[in-house]
């Protein structure tokens, strides 16, 4: 499997008098046709990392560092015109709230058709036919009729399907998904996840799927990267991470997630709260909440060590097999 995406030592800082270090040296690769889950709590930098891959942050206030390479192209070095060609055609994105992602004054079919015409230059009739085919493909009933529907006329699940159709309209190689199922009911969420999985296999898509929900990550990802305070702290195949987490934070996150049949037992909550990104500690950002923490952890951040398909940034891992 060749790597479609290579991110090396990415840093993202939002400027101002009190700069916020949202992403602090993130490196990962995603292969063609692979689904990477980015897992973490709010403010851990998962969405910021995702948006950097398509350069959605306001240019004047954002400072990038490191390198992002997608399909052989250097994303951080692109000019505006190159970005326009890149977005949609190579990489596209779906969001948590499709009502905000669609333009409310045009029908969804027209918006999908517009994207197709912009990138392929086919005529309006053909674009309409293609848009209807896509709407049908994402299992929207009566696609030809729904072509004329406005975003507010559709239910949450249908809007999310329409957004997937829009995102896939130009046959991208990479789909960035920013919590696309979080706002949906569980019964609809699983429909969308299954649809994404099906489309991913069919089109050979690579997906980076951001979520805070471990259950969702399990349903969709091949591999998962756990983020904390702007860094990837652990990474590996989803089954390994679930069964044998090596980082104390990953372990804590799994233990504090309420799953089936936990009734009667006390939850193992992680004490405290995540650190302030404008004022990060010198050492490991998790040290203050960690039971294993030592003086070494507070002196310098643990290096990210990756081998045998698993990565870890911890001085005191819980699993011996991945110890540095």
């Amino acid at each position: 499997m060749s790597n479609l995406i290579t991110v090396s030592d990415l840093t993202v800082t939002f400027g101002g008098a009190r700069p916020v270090h949202a992403v602090n040296g993130v490196s990962f690769t995603v292969g063609t046709g692979e689904v990477l889950g980015l897992l973490g709590e709010s403010g851990c930098g998962k969405s910021v990392t995702l948006r950097s891959l398509i350069r959605l942050h306001p240019p004047r206030r954002t400072t990038y560092g490191g390198r992002i390479e997608v399909d052989g192209q250097d994303i951080l070095g692109m000019d505006e015109e190159q970005l326009c060609r890149y977005r949609g055609a190579v990489t596209s994105m779906i969001f948590q709230e499709p009502l905000l992602a669609f333009d409310p004054v045009y029908s969804i079919g027209r918006q999908i058709g517009e994207a197709i015409r912009r990138h392929t230059g086919i005529d309006a009739r053909a674009a309409e036919a293609e848009a209807i085919r896509l709407l049908d493909r994402v299992q929207i009933p009566q696609a030809a009729k729904r072509y004329h529907a406005y975003p507010h006329e559709m239910s949450g699940g249908m809007r999310q399907r329409a957004m997937i159709a829009l995102a896939l309209s130009c046959r991208p190689k990479l789909l960035l998904a920013d919590e696309p199922t979080t706002a949906l009911d569980a019964t609809v969420q699983i429909q969308i996840l299954l649809l994404l999985r099906e489309l991913q296999r069919e089109m050979g898509l690579s997906i980076i799927f951001v979520t805070h929900d471990i259950g969702v990550a399990v349903e969709i990802s091949d591999r998962v990267a756990v983020m904390y305070a702007g860094r990837i702290i652990e990474q590996g195949p989803i089954a390994d991470i679930i069964s044998a987490p090596a980082h104390p934070y990953t372990q804590g996150l799994l233990a504090s997630t309420v799953t089936q049949n936990m009734r009667g037992s006390r939850l193992e909550a992680i004490p405290g709260a995540p650190p302030d990104l404008a004022n990060l500690p010198v050492g490991c950002a998790f040290a203050d909440r960690c039971r294993q923490a030592s003086a070494q952890c507070r002196a310098a951040p643990p290096p990210y060590d990756s081998r045998l398909g698993r990565g870890l940034a911890c001085f005191h891992p819980l699993t011996e097999s991945v110890a540095p």
Binding site: E41, S42, S155, G156, G157, M158, D185, A186, T187, V188, Q189, I190, Q191, L193, L194, H212, D213, I214, G215, V216, V218, E219, I238, A239, I242, G252, L253, A255, S256, T257, V258, T259, Q260, N261, M262, R263, R266, L267, E268, A269, I270, P271, A273
Partner: protein, 346 residues
């Protein structure tokens, strides 16, 4: 921790066997107004004939998809909106009727905690004052109210000297939700309605708040009505669970029994839509197709029949009555009623 609080605790009037909350036939329709030619456009059947029984010192979980009437039920019970019909009995006393418990009295006994911890707090009040505000309005002297507020902050795990003077924006989401819980406790309530109160929190913080809720329930002899869309959390915290669909109760029973042996096809579908957390056994097919339907002018018969895999012609004509299928376990499905004429009935 001391339990002697300054406001008089509302006494247990009905005795331990009397359910703290008994609701019969609760109904609320929101009319849609009339069209240009004066024709009535119908109504949103938000809550349509809901019966609830909550025994003292237990937790009743309410689950269902968005738009099923969970939150409207909570608002009706606290009288934030007026019900169209139905009887609410709080610890043996009818609410809002002559000779019963007054609304003001009810609200002292019954408090709400909402999902959005930030919107629930006045941004211009320190949290210490926000908690003291309610008791003060109800006649507690300012000094005592603040004292009480500080006591409660300590109880929910926020050091009063450190946090008391802060404003809501200076707290994290988990801390703010603790403040909301403290404020709900300020009246020494006996029933707390938690409307998606932990849903917006990160998992690690959610676990802290759930632990706190469990501790408070034991310490203060509380009863909870826990509304959530997260079935795992509901299973964790509840004793009984009530499943709602389009404004009606489709199944209610002890949480373990309902989760292990769900009888209503909707409950079954809802439970199998929960991600499994097992990478080797991913969900392979969708338990339900389509979105939750619109509660405007629902069709006669069973409201779930359009999405039900077991629907039969008879489901369109008979609205399924609630049938008892076990101890405290009842289900509103024709398949549970042998006399209904549904071919799969047992």
């Amino acid at each position: 921790m001391s339990t002697d609080l300054l406001l008089p605790t509302a006494e247990d009037r009905g005795g331990p066997a009397q359910p703290i909350l008994l609701v019969k036939g609760l109904r609320k329709y929101f009319p849609l107004g009339s069209s240009l030619f004066g024709r009535n456009r119908g109504a949103v059947h938000a809550v349509d004939g809901v019966d609830i029984t909550v025994p003292k010192r237990t937790t009743l979980g309410i689950v269902g998809e968005s738009g099923c009437g969970k939150s409207t039920t909570a608002r009706l019970l606290t009288r934030l909106i007026e019900p169209d019909d139905g009887e609410v009995i709080f610890d043996g006393e009818a609410v809002g009727t002559h000779g019963g418990i007054s609304i003001k009295e009810l609200r002292r006994n019954l408090q709400l905690v909402f999902q959005d911890s930030f919107a629930s707090l006045n941004p211009r009040m320190t949290i210490e004052r926000a908690i003291a505000f309610g008791p003060q309005v109800h006649g507690l002297p300012a000094k005592e109210a603040v004292e009480r507020s500080r006591d409660l902050l300590g109880r929910v795990g926020l050091e009063p000297n450190r946090f008391g003077g802060r404003y809501p924006h200076e707290l994290s989401g988990g801390q703010r939700q603790r403040v909301n819980i403290a404020r709900a406790l300020a009246f020494n309530p006996r029933l707390i309605i938690l409307d998606e109160s932990v849903s917006a929190l990160d998992k690690s913080v959610q676990a802290q708040v759930l632990n706190l809720l469990m501790d408070l329930k034991d310490e203060l002899k509380l009863t909870y009505l826990f509304i959530s869309h997260d079935l795992n959390v509901v299973q964790y915290i509840s004793d009984h669970v009530m499943v709602m669909y389009l404004g009606q109760v489709v199944e209610v029973g002890p949480v373990e029994e309902v989760y292990r042996h769900p009888r209503h096809p909707y409950t079954q579908a809802l439970l199998s839509a929960v991600p499994s957390l097992d990478p080797h056994h991913r969900t392979e097919r969708t338990p339900l197709t389509g979105d939750p339907p619109n509660p405007i002018n629902p069709p006669p018969g069973c409201r779930f029949r359009d999405r039900c895999p077991k629907a039969h012609a008879v489901c369109a004509s008979i609205a399924p009555p609630s049938v008892v299928v076990g101890t405290d376990h009842s289900v509103a499905c024709l398949m549970a009623d042998p006399a209904s004429g549904h071919p799969d009935a047992i």
